[in-house]
Symmetry: C2
Subunit: 287 residues, 2 copies
């Protein structure tokens, strides 16, 4: 059996000094001059690879946003594959941010491609609106491959409230109901660390929800986007952790990858410094 995803992730966070993740969301119009070229897919590839090299010493994980690569079709998808491979070679844990989800047979195809196939990261974000039989194929493949999953529970965008905050007749919100399903589905997949391979996406901009969700999902690692540019602050993310400082992976994207913008340093140095700062900021929250 391959090593359990949550055990690998927690060990990597300990080695690097903090549970942080750099989001790779490359946008052609925002790239540094140094990687600019006429082919957008080639430019985001050069940028992504250099970001990976700049941050690899400071963070345990990166989260490539598939949409940024898929924007350029098959050529972009090939770039995505090479970015995933490069990050894994650099010793980073790859959280593929694809938010996939479908009925069972189609989820099985996505799982085959994104967790064990040509573009296999270490984990994948998943949308659970289709229910547990849409998630089960991802769990099956992840179990076999030592991979992990993060199901969307509470997202960091303002409009998520319209769906996720709706109250059910039993008093739970939609997000709480999804959280309970995720916790239940993950119970038979818990590693030595006490965490399941089935994690949850819990946005950093909803601190009032985080403490409650932490209680509902004691075996879930929270993937916490929205730190930095999306408005999440250090205090906002505290509630995502257990008292022992485990249980969440804090993600920052624009605040790290575009740190070179307006800086006097070489851009890759600015990115490395921002990754180090992210690590130190989160480590100090947990100290």
């Amino acid at each position: 059996m391959p090593e359990h995803f949550a055990d690998r992730l927690i060990a990597a966070c300990s080695t690097k000094g903090a549970p942080v993740c750099v989001g790779l969301d490359p946008v052609y119009g925002k790239l540094p001059q140094a990687v600019a070229c006429e082919d957008p897919a080639a430019a985001i590839e050069a940028f992504s690879l250099k970001v990976i090299e700049a941050v690899a010493d400071y963070v345990p994980a990166v989260k490539p946003q598939m949409a940024c690569y898929e924007r350029y079709g098959a050529a972009g998808y090939a770039v995505f594959e090479r970015v995933v491979a490069h990050a894994k070679e650099a010793g980073l844990i790859v959280v593929t941010d694809g938010k996939r989800g479908d009925i069972g047979t189609s989820s099985d195809h996505y799982a085959a491609g994104l967790l064990s196939g040509h573009a296999a990261g270490d984990s994948l974000t998943v949308n659970g609106y289709l229910g547990t039989d849409g998630i089960q194929p991802f769990i099956d493949t992840a179990t076999a491959r030592g991979a992990g999953l993060f199901v969307l529970v509470r997202t960091s965008n303002p409009g998520g409230d319209a769906i996720q905050s709706c109250k059910l007749e039993d008093g739970r919100s939609v997000a709480q109901m999804v959280a309970d399903h995720v916790n239940q589905a993950g119970k038979s997949h818990v590693g030595k660390s006490g965490y399941s391979l089935l994690g949850a996406v819990v946005g950093a901009t909803k601190p009032e929800d985080a403490a409650d969700l932490r209680e509902r999902m004691p075996e879930q690692v929270f993937l916490v986007p929205g730190f930095g540019a999306q408005g999440g602050t250090a205090d906002d993310v505290k509630a995502c952790f257990k008292p022992d400082g485990t249980g969440a992976l804090i993600t920052s994207s624009r605040g790290v990858i575009y740190a070179g913008s307006g800086s006097d340093q070489p851009w890759t140095q600015a990115v490395a410094n921002a990754a180090q700062q992210l690590r130190d900021d989160v480590a100090s929250i947990l100290a």
Copy 2:
């Protein structure tokens, strides 16, 4: 301005004789001997292109399932692009079944790739769990390109109930609440036909819900998967239509594309016959 998606779709359904759609869900292990080869991506390409040619005279639309192509990474994604292009050249309306959805900036990237970029179909299925600001970029791009969208409201898989049937404190189910959001978001994007570019996915295996959803979403075209192999019958889909026979697009996948299995006919002839039968079956329901 490009022609409105719903107007184009309804005209195409009228021309072909019924509002039906063939789902392209090619699975390597199920392909006819005639297209078998050692490269799975090449095999599903050959199969998909021949299915398109076989059904193009009988149906107005095809629905490629992205998961089946993404299973094979960038090579599969390139196949998907060629399948979309081939279907458009054959005069078919392409419903890309990608079930994408993210926060606004990432949804914008998906919309750029799948509605106006390298792999642009005529429409895309979208997951609305992230709320209306996650859907708006798709609407903006679709408006500019004469494209359409189908938001997941009620899916045809058994496990969808666990999320979508939950009752809110105001008495609506989660699916009904999502339906009301979709209807509201689509109101300013209605074409001459009376239908919005923003449609809804409503599974054929939930007839008890269909009539209610039809009332809640008078401007939405329903994309109805699950006819045939997933268990949906003719009676199940009736409630998805308005009395004038418009308002739904009935999809069958396995029942058409694998019709050659066990048949004495050449497999492409069996597929063509099954597409014709699908058209005639749905036309007779509406007669």
